[in-house]
Structure formats: C-alpha cells, structure tokens
C-alpha cells in the first residue's frame, strides 16, 4: 500500500498546477466562457501539446497509461481552476468508450486524433426518462441493410455543441430496461437528421439536447459487438464519475481556503468574523468534509487500478461519488453562507465553484442514487 505519487504523476500534477495557477485565473476563465465556443482552442492545443489528452488512455493505445490515479491528479487541478475545456467529454467519456469498445481500426482512426487535440467528442447517453439508469435506453437503432437508422432524444450531451463526432447509445434489440441490446454508434455531428438544442449550463460548460430523426449510419460506425455495450458504458461512466469527484476535491479545497481567508479579513462588529467560534467550528467541519472526500476519492482511484471485479470497482466509485456529493453540498453551501452576500454575486469566484460542485453532484448519478446503488452492489 502506497499513498505517494510516482515521479511521473508528480510531474503531471506540477504541470497542470502551474498552468492553472499562471494561465487560468478567474478572469481568464470568465472570458473563455463568454466566447462563442465556450472554451479556448488555444488552451486545448496546449493540453494536447503537454500530453494531458493522453492521460486517460492506455499505453497500447498510445496514451500516458490510463490509470485512474493519473486521471485523478489531472482532474483535481482542473477543479481548482474550474477548467471548462471539454477534457471530460472528449477524452474521458468519448475517448473512454472508443478505448473500451473500438476495433483496432476505430482506435487508430479516432484516438490519436483525440490525443492530438484535433477531434472533439460528445457522448449522447442520457434520455428524458432515463434519469441515472444507464440501461434505460429508449433511443432505437434499427438495422436497415448495411446501415442502422437511429431515432430518439438525448439530454445533457456534454460538449454537444463543439463535438465533431457523437457517440450515441441506442437500443438495437430488447425492451427499454434490458441490459442486453444496447449498442454504441459513432455518428458525425453533421449527419442528416440530427438536430441540437445547444445551451450553456449553470457552471459555464456547454451542452446540448440532441434529437435523432432517422439518422442513417453505416454498420462500421458500430462500436464493439451489437447489443453488448452496457458494461463498457457503465465502466466509462464510473470513470467519469471518479474524474468529476476528483475535480470536486480540488474545487472544495479552493472553497475552504477562500472561506478561511475571507473570514480572517472580513470585519463585523469590530473584529474579523473568523474569530467567531461558531464559524470556526463550521470551517473545521468543512475541513473534515474535504479530507474525507479526498480520502475516498483516493480509495476509489486506487481500486480502479487494481484487478478487482467490475462490481467491486463500481461499488468503490458509488461510495466515492456519494460521499463527495455530501461533502460538496455542505462545503458549497457553507462557503456561500460564511461569505455572505458577496458570494451570492456573479462577481466572486466562490459562487462559481459552488455552481460547479452543484453540477457535479447531479452528473452521473446524484448522492441518493449512488447510495442506493452502493447498497445494492
């Protein structure tokens, strides 16, 4: 058992940390969010150049190694900067599915483009009725000669506006809740029959609702064996859940730090409010939440890197996401409350961290969902 980073991980952390600290301050981020695309193409190229886009991928796919701990290192630092570039959507979700399910040819065609920064991906899996159940797939893909025809509606397609390709989860057989019969297709974002309702999410990230009306795709756009995609999808979503949990750990550390600093300087009734014991105890409790969140994310990341069973890994991620969810709510709300009015304004970064952790709680299964899932595993 070893809790220290390898030299490579330490270098990776230093590199991302330095970038966030020196090039991703709050004003820069604010400007990036307000651009048309909502992220910086320049920074995206930099991410590729620095090799960060290779982090989620295995060495045999040309990646950095693909360990969950590596991913955790990057995401935690991204969390501190509230980085909005579509790393999660492209490299973890989309890239993850290709890595899990793709043929050698598909990987060759797409993964290197992802790692080079030239291909943006989005994964269309959630549906208006599905909530967090990945097996609840109403979107259909019907075989039609050498093609498939896709029909259905998807929601919260992260990076939907900018993605060049969409990875679409659709049912090729079976009933709505069946675990069998779920397939993934790679579809060109410009394919005929796709319509998108694009929007900015509360945390500044871009997403879209996507409708598929008789979208015709060739058989070679199928990723993996027909109808057998669910377990891979679950693994990828769990990896994404771990990634945003690590991001949350970074964000919460910033919230705690900023709150402590603020209460040291903010004066009321002639003294710094940080001298009030009631607030001190609440900040101590925030610290406890941060520490427990960090601990359980480390647990889950380490577990994903072992040879444990899928169920054990899923249980570890469910535990982490649930525990981090509870921590995020507490740390987020308390940060705002202890700052007072100023944190309720768009002007201060604290509210934006709060929005991001609130978003994270709702991504990939909220706290209660993960608790019940944990209990069932």
């Amino acid at each position: 058992m070893d809790f220290s980073y390898s030299d490579e991980q330490q270098m990776l952390q230093d590199s991302v940390q330095k970038f966030v600290y020196s090039q991703y301050d709050f004003d820069t981020r604010r400007k990036i969010i307000k651009t048309d695309t909502g992220f910086s193409a320049e920074y995206w190229s930099l991410f590729a150049e620095l090799g960060w886009l290779t982090v989620p991928f295995k060495e045999e796919d040309g990646g950095f190694g693909g360990s969950a701990v590596d991913l955790m290192v990057v995401m935690e630092e991204f969390g501190k900067g509230m980085v909005v570039e579509p790393f999660l959507a492209t490299a973890v979700l989309g890239g993850g599915l290709i890595s899990e399910l793709g043929s050698a040819a598909q990987k060759e065609a797409m993964l290197s483009a992802v790692m080079e920064g030239s291909l943006q991906l989005a994964t269309a899996y959630a549906e208006p009725d599905s909530r967090y159940n990945l097996a609840s797939v109403g979107t259909s893909a019907k075989k039609d000669g050498a093609s498939y025809v896709i029909n259905g509606n998807k929601v919260l397609v992260l990076n939907g506006p900018a993605a060049n390709k969409l990875l679409v989860v659709a049912r090729t057989s079976g009933e709505k809740f069946d675990r069998d019969g779920i397939s993934v297709f790679v579809v060109d974002a410009s394919a005929s029959g796709i319509s998108k309702r694009e929007y900015t999410a509360v945390d500044g990230h871009r997403a879209a609702e996507v409708q598929f009306n008789d979208v015709k795709v060739s058989a070679d756009s199928l990723l993996g064996a027909e109808g057998k995609a669910l377990t891979a999808l679950e693994r990828v979503i769990d990896r994404a859940a771990l990634a945003v949990s690590a991001e949350a750990v970074g964000a919460m550390d910033c919230l705690l730090k900023k709150t402590v600093e603020y209460t040291k300087t903010r004066k009321q009734f002639g003294v710094a409010i940080g001298t009030f014991q009631a607030l001190q105890h609440r900040m101590s409790e925030m610290f406890i939440e941060c520490q427990l969140a960090r601990s359980i994310v480390i647990m889950a990341a380490m577990k994903l890197d072992t040879t444990a069973s899928d169920a054990e890994k899923a249980k570890a991620v469910a535990a982490a996401k649930a525990r981090v969810g509870r921590a995020m709510r507490k740390v987020g709300q308390e940060s705002v409350q202890l700052h007072g009015g100023i944190a309720c304004t768009d002007e201060l970064d604290v509210g934006h961290y709060f929005k991001r952790v609130t978003t994270i709680e709702n991504l990939f299964g909220n706290t209660d969902y993960q608790l019940v899932r944990y209990a069932s595993l």
Partner: protein, 399 residues
Amino acid sequence: MNADFTAEELKFQKEVQDFLKAEFPQDIKHKVDNGIRLEKDDFVRWQKILYKKGWVAPNWPVEYGGTGWTPTQKYIFAMEMGLYGAMEPVAFGVKMVAPVIYSYGNEEQKKRFLPDILASNVWWCQGYSEPNSGSDLASLKTTAVRDGDHYVVNGTKTWTTLGQYADWIFCLVRTDSTAKKQEGISFLLIDMKTPGIKVSPIYLLDDEPEVNEVHFDNVRVPVENLIGEENQGWTYAKVLLTHERTNIAQVPNSKLKLRKLRDLAANTPDGFGGSLLNNTVFARKLAEVEIQVLALEYAELRTLAAVSVGKAPGPESSILKVVGTEATQFIDELYMEVAAYHSLPHIPEQFAEGFDGDRVGKGSLANSSNVYFNNRKKSIYGGSNEIQKNIISKAVLGL
C-alpha cells in the same frame, strides 16, 4: 384550543378564493405557474387590483387603509394568496417603509406618502446595507450632513433589491459620527430622481440583476424628508425589522412549491419504471420537508396568536426566519433532485415573457439550479441566520 375555522371565517376564505379566481390576471398567473420572470408592471397591475378591493395592507391601522381583519383572517388571506400563486405587494413600500411612516412620520409625511404606497403609484426600495456593513448594520458609513434646509448625502448602499424600478428609497444615514454607532443614525426618504444618485446592477448567481448598488454623490435631500428625530433612525429601523419578519416564514409559498413538487415527482420517471414519488427514499425526504413546513406553520400561528392577545412578537420569531429560509432552500434542493440532468441548463430566455423556442425540461425544472443558487441569499439577508441564532441565545436563552 381548536383548529376549526368559524362559519364567518369559512365564508371569508371563500370570498378570498373567489376574488383570486376572478381578479388575479390570467397572464400573470400563467407566468407564476410556469416560472416566468415577473416584470414591474405585473406587480403594479396586481397591487392596483388589490387596492381597488381594499386588500393591499392587512397589517396597517385601519385609518391609513388597513383591513381591520382578525389574525385568523390575515392568516387565511395570506395562505390563500400564497397557495394561488398571487404575489404579495412588493414589501419595500407596504411592509417596510409604511409602518415607519405611520408610526414615526408627521402628518404631512403620512398624507404625502401612504396613499401612493397603498395605490402602488410609487415604487420604493431599501437603503440599509452597505458594502462593509453586512450583518453589522449599525456600522453604516453613508453620511448626511445638514446644509441649510437640506441634508447632503454621500455614500453607497448595496443589496438594493429591485432598486432599478424604484421612485423612492428609504435610507439609514449617519448624521452624527461622534456618537456611538447606533446613536448617530437617521431615517431619510430620498427621491431617486435627485441628482447625484447612480444605480448599478449587481448580477446574482442566476445571472439576473435583481439587486443593485446605489451610489450617493452629494445628493441634496430636503430636511422635511427626515422621519422623526435626527439620530433616532436606529430605533425606527428596529421596529421596521420586526415588521419585515412578518411572513418571513414563507409558509404559503412553501406549501405551493411543495404541492407543485409533488405533482412533478409523480410525473417524473425514476429511471427504473416507477415514478420518483413512489421512490421511498425521495418520498421520505419530501415528507420530511412537508412536515417541517407544517410545524413551521403552527409555530407561526402560535406567534400570531400571542401577538393577538397583546404580546409583542418576541425574539422567538427569529426561529421563523431561520426555519422558513432553510425550508425554502431544502425545497429548492428537492426541485433539483427531481430535475436531475435538467437542473443544469442556464437558459434565462426560456423564463422570460414571450419565449417561443424549444423548451428544455418540464415546467420550470430547467431553472431549478438557478432558483437554488438565488435563494441561498435567504439565509443571509434580513439578519443572517447566524445573527438570528445570536438573538435567540442572548434574548431568549439569556446566554
């Protein structure tokens, strides 16, 4: 002790219900039901209807336009309004400055200001908080220096809700900087059109300019706009703060939100073939907050009953603020939980009048995060919940 309404009270309840059904404008109701932002005109129009009926200000003395209702009638009225989704008149005029004017103003001031407040001819806003005062309100620094028949006002007020619409502002200003901090404060009414006033919007977490900073740069205010005596403003403001606490529990509003939430949950799939309302874990949480609101309702009724037999609304009413705001905030969390992925979009145009594009999410669910973010202010303003706990521990528990 009994919980029943009398026959007259039931009749009154029916009257309120009928009035709302007949008179609350359909287009405003449509907005309320669908979470569409209300504009100034909506508030003004509705208050003028209430004014015609004589129901703007149940708590005012009858001589100035109050209704003379019993506490139970007031409760019924507030409950029916809230459950129907009909807005209360904006508080700054009716509930906040008016009680100060009729309690401490001179006859001239009463005549000049009260009728326009009642008839919604003048929109008021509040000038209390300052960038550095916060919970320590009495540390305010905006000055008013006497110069002949005028005070010259300099300083900055903040968190001025809906100040962009306001015709007048009531302010606490420092008229004696040598006195102890509570003792050098005066209560001043200021016409927003006076030269030297600048209003700048503050965008809150939902990206709406709901509050403002109001800057005063050598603003000349006639001395007749002073309420009561110079340097006595803090005393008057404290009374106003008590009035501000009326319906701070927000029970009718919470009940309406809970009712809608229950409907939404019944129509939201849990992802496994059932509805969210049938999901025991969710239903248990919903029950918990429904019960909390019920307990709060009776805590408020008990306070009102105590007031009606002549007891002042004591520091006990601090619990209404704390519990009421926390309940609202918890309900907001449950809305987000129902919305799930649809809690995340930030599409303000979808919740503006006249939007006819593609809608995201059912009802107002796509705005649930923004509502949640915005309402975090509730435990901060009006005397933060921490201040309320200080009040309870000092004034109630004697600690």
